[in-house]
């Protein structure tokens, strides 16, 4: 009996693990930067100039920008992780602000978040939370990105199961709930 139950559980697990995605949206680094360029106004309003994203191989991402009136160069390195479906986390591994003026990293991160939220498409489906990490430094933090609503209006139950960075490409893939006949 025990064997039978474990066999059933194993089969179930295998079925879940081998179930494929229903859609996949793959974007190149160039395409992402084209999108960012089209959002220039919102970025400049938040004090962000020359905003550029680089996808660096396995899970890693870099952002380069100039901040504020003085156009202070900023370099941010981060890794992207999937927490659960629709929930993703960015861990900031390096936050470099060049120049002599003391500048709050959190302030810059919040300016980036605010400029993203001004885009009506992103504002309706994404919730971004910046949180401090339990480290000695006050400046170490992570970013939670939660998809609170399906980005596609006609598919309310669309799920984003994974965000994957592979070389210079970002892939979004997931599932839709299926109504079985």
């Amino acid at each position: 009996m025990k064997k039978l139950i474990s066999l059933i559980i194993l089969t179930l697990l295998f079925t879940i693990a081998s179930s494929a995605y229903d859609y996949k949206f793959e974007m190149s680094e160039k395409y992402i930067n084209g999108f960012i360029d089209s959002q220039k106004e919102a970025l400049v309003d938040s004090g962000l100039h020359n905003f550029e994203v680089f996808l660096v191989g396995e899970r890693n991402m870099e952002i380069e920008l100039n901040y504020g009136m003085l156009r202070i160069p900023v370099k941010i390195k981060m890794t992207l992780d999937t927490v659960s479906p629709n929930k993703f986390r960015l861990f900031i591994t390096k936050f470099k602000v060049l120049g002599f003026l003391p500048m709050s990293r959190m302030m810059i991160a919040e300016a980036v978040r605010d400029s993203i939220i001004t885009n009506p498409f992103l504002a309706k489906c994404i919730n971004i939370r910046i949180f401090k990490l339990n480290t000695k430094s006050d400046e170490d933090f992570g970013v939670d990105i939660n998809f609170t609503k399906s980005p596609v209006d006609i598919l309310e139950d669309l799920v984003i199961t994974n965000l994957v960075i592979n070389k210079d490409k970002l892939s979004v893939w997931g599932n839709v709930s299926v109504v079985l006949e």
Binding site: D22, K24, K30, G34, F35, F121, N166, V176, V178
Partner: protein, 212 residues
């Protein structure tokens, strides 16, 4: 005697409709299990790492049959399009469904197969290579198909995202047409005015749309 006659007419009608639905199922199964003309097999990419983009392309969207058929079932089926399903294989697409043909007041099952092409930027064409209408008598396949496309184009959900049209292509031996899909990209993605679809390919159980 009268009863017997009525019963036998009903019986005959049931048998013929059952036989036609069997034909349709067998035909569909054959279409979908046929190996591709170009036999290098492509399987579903489950880990999401296939590098499908060339340097000329900015994005690629892959939709599985399940994704498309979920939309069709939940959002498109209505009193005219009673049932519609799309299938993709490496070298073809198959549309199988049932429409309500007002003129004859009949449900008409149909199966269409062909290739997906991109004849111009932002235009996806479903070139029809073969079409079957599963009903008694010889109904004009071209007319049925143009009706299907008309119904689909009138569907409010689809109309928000696509404009569909059907054109007959005169051929020396047969008539086959093209179902043209023009996605309303500006309405869909207002923040990306320069977006353009440059290529579409089909693989086993999925369709891949690429663009800049």
């Amino acid at each position: 005697m009268k009863k017997f006659l009525i019963m036998s007419v009903i019986g005959f009608a049931m048998i013929s409709s059952f036989a036609s639905s069997m034909d349709r199922t067998i035909y569909l199964e054959q279409l979908l299990s046929e190996p591709a003309a170009n036999s290098r097999s492509i399987t579903r990419d489950d880990i999401g790492t296939r590098a499908g983009l060339t340097s000329n392309e900015g994005f690629a969207v892959t939709f599985s049959e399940i994704f498309i058929n979920t939309i069709l079932k939940q959002k498109v089926s209505d009193e005219f399009i009673k049932d519609i399903k799309l299938y993709f294989r490496q070298d073809k697409y198959v549309i199988d469904g049932i429409i309500y043909f007002e003129m004859l007041e009949l449900d008409i099952p149909f199966t269409v197969t062909g290739k997906v092409t991109v004849p111009a930027k932002n235009v996806i064409s479903l070139d029809v290579k073969e079409m079957k209408v599963w009903s008694e008598g010889s109904l004009p396949t071209d007319k049925i198909l143009s009706k299907v496309v008309k119904y689909l184009n009138n569907n409010r959900t689809l109309n928000d995202y696509l404009t569909l049209s059907y054109e007959t292509v005169a051929n020396r031996y047969e008539n086959f047409g093209r179902i043209k899909l023009a996605p309303k990209l500006k309405e869909m993605l207002p923040s990306l005015p320069d977006i353009g679809i440059s290529g579409v390919s089909t693989a086993n159980e999925e369709i891949i749309i690429k663009g800049k």
